[in-house]
């Protein structure tokens, strides 16, 4: 039997993940994600546990399907939404007030039942309670300004400023949550070489 070609959502939706260091307008189609929410600084305990739980769920779902001979797919990279309750400048807020939702893009054929089953297996394994907070969600971001940020996360505000100016020039305003796609592995890639896609939904201002 010929193996089915592996599904890679980032390659399938190339236009949505092909950001360059110049801002551009993209139309982002509705997409399904495994998601876990929390509050606090990136790298904090809750954040780290959230990443672990998200990957636990993602790989358990994928491998359960693969074992059953169903279509294989690549587990996508980590993404994150960032926002705050107050309207104040996000970057200037204390980090413990940062709200986040970590995401892993997942094929549409993954349903709540797949997630429920994986969570049950993981709890039986004694993997900890965090996995119970993983949800399956869909996002419809529509029209977005997008740009590739190369460098430390702390310097992202410079990229955001360029994106904002680009949007304003076209009578567009930021609307919706700041979205990041982590293309590099921060454990090993030096900060100055980290690649992150920054995405911001926009609407006519």
């Amino acid at each position: 039997m010929k193996p089915q070609p592996k599904l890679d959502l980032y390659k399938l939706h190339k236009a949505e993940y092909g950001a360059t260091r110049k801002p551009a307008l993209v139309e982002v189609t509705p997409a399904s994600y495994l998601a876990i929410s929390g509050q606090g600084a990136p790298g904090g305990d809750l954040f780290t546990a959230g990443i672990g739980a998200l990957y636990d769920a993602a790989f358990t779902i994928k491998m359960t399907r693969k074992f059953a001979g169903q279509q294989d797919y690549a587990v996508c990279k980590l993404e994150g939404l960032w926002w705050s309750e107050s309207a104040a400048n996000f970057a200037k807020l204390p980090k413990d007030q940062w709200l986040w939702k970590l995401l892993i893009r997942t094929p549409d054929f993954i349903k709540d039942d797949d997630l429920r089953q994986a969570v049950a297996v993981l709890l039986k394994r004694g993997k900890g309670e965090d996995v119970k907070r993983v949800r399956l969600e869909s996002l419809a971001e529509g029209r977005c300004v997008q740009m590739l940020h190369v460098g430390p996360y702390e310097k992202e505000c410079e990229t955001v400023a360029v994106m904002k100016a680009f949007a304003e020039k076209q009578q567009l305003g930021f609307a919706g949550k700041h979205h990041e796609v982590y293309l590099s592995d921060p454990r090993r890639v030096p900060p100055e070489r980290l690649k992150t896609i920054v995405r911001q939904p926009v609407r006519p201002s």
Binding site: Y55, D56, A58, T60, M63, F67, A74, V121, D185, R187
Partner: protein, 303 residues
């Protein structure tokens, strides 16, 4: 205990190099050669390649060709005899190899006035017809300097599946192991994915290469069917990161064991190296792949 130096490593390799010169026509076993230099057979071929700049096999082949060149010049033996003595079964194969190294076919070479009968190599090691050897040039670490950390590791318990066969087919074993462990919730967050290569693809015939595909597990995991459990010994390890495709891991091993190690003052333990795959090759471009290589070190001070 005295610290081992580059000179010590060279002295040990010289014993092997002299033995090769004296037994150019014999089948030389890897274990035998490693034993002469008191190196573990797990690591010997990589230390050799890293320091000499060519593998044991390449080295022997080159010396045989140099010997053939000298016989062409200094004797009247028929070319076919010389080809046979150099380990070639056919005249054509010999001519091809000879031309690649000396730039002329054996018969042309014999009748030309050029007298250079050695190849150019960095190591300065050539066929010496029984003369003693005293030194060679160990390959200098070139290019960007290699970042190596010494890390102490506790013993690592892993579930594993053994692959026996060509190295580039290990993917099939991973495809069996990962779904079985993954559906049990054993992959994801903190599980490490690692590989233990028991043989070097350059010296072991492809069908005999042993490779263990491993995933770290806790005490509760019990071996089942084709999936076994082993414990990677704890202790000190020299650790470096390989950047890029898995096909090029061999180059980084060679630099670590053949260039860094002899200058580190350390010696290797007789257990295999292992590698930890830091990203998912399914969603990562080959040039962005990161792999940590762990080489087991002997404890520095003995009591």
């Amino acid at each position: 205990m005295r610290t081992v130096t580059l000179q010590d490593y060279k002295r040990r390799l010289l014993r092997v190099l002299a033995h090769i010169q004296q037994h150019l026509d014999d089948e030389l076993g890897l274990k035998e050669l490693a034993g002469l230099a008191c190196f573990s057979p797990y690591h010997f071929h990589r230390i050799f390649k890293g320091m000499v700049g060519e593998s044991v096999k390449e080295h022997i082949r080159r010396l045989r060709l140099e010997r053939a060149a000298s016989r062409l010049k200094l004797s009247t033996a028929p070319v076919t005899d010389i080809a046979f003595d150099a380990g070639y079964e056919s005249h054509e194969a010999f001519t091809r190899s000879f031309r690649a190294v000396f730039g002329a076919a054996p018969t042309q070479f014999r009748s030309s006035t050029k007298s250079r009968i050695t190849t150019t190599v960095r190591s300065g090691l050539h066929y010496r017809a029984g003369k003693p050897m005293s030194d060679f040039k160990a390959t200098q670490p070139g290019g960007k300097s290699m970042k190596v950390k010494i890390e102490y590791k506790e013993p690592i318990r892993v579930a594993f599946m053994r692959h026996v066969g060509p190295y580039d087919e290990v993917g099939a074993t991973w495809d069996k192991l990962l779904p079985r462990l993954g559906k049990e919730g054993l992959l994801g967050g903190d599980a490490l994915i690692l590989g233990i290569c028991h043989d070097d693809p350059e010296v072991t015939p492809p069908e005999k290469i042993r490779y263990d595909a491993c995933v770290t597990v806790d005490e509760r995991f019990v071996p089942e069917g084709e999936i076994g459990v082993q414990v990677i010994p704890g202790g000190e390890y020299a650790v470096t990161t390989h950047f890029g495709p898995y096909q090029k891991l061999g180059d980084t091993y060679t630099r670590l064991l053949g260039q860094w190690l002899p200058r580190s003052g350390r010696e290797l333990r007789s257990t295999p190296c292992f590698e930890v795959y830091l990203n998912d090759p399914q969603s990562t471009e080959p040039e962005d792949l990161l792999t940590d290589i762990y080489a087991p070190l002997q404890t520095k001070t003995r009591t």
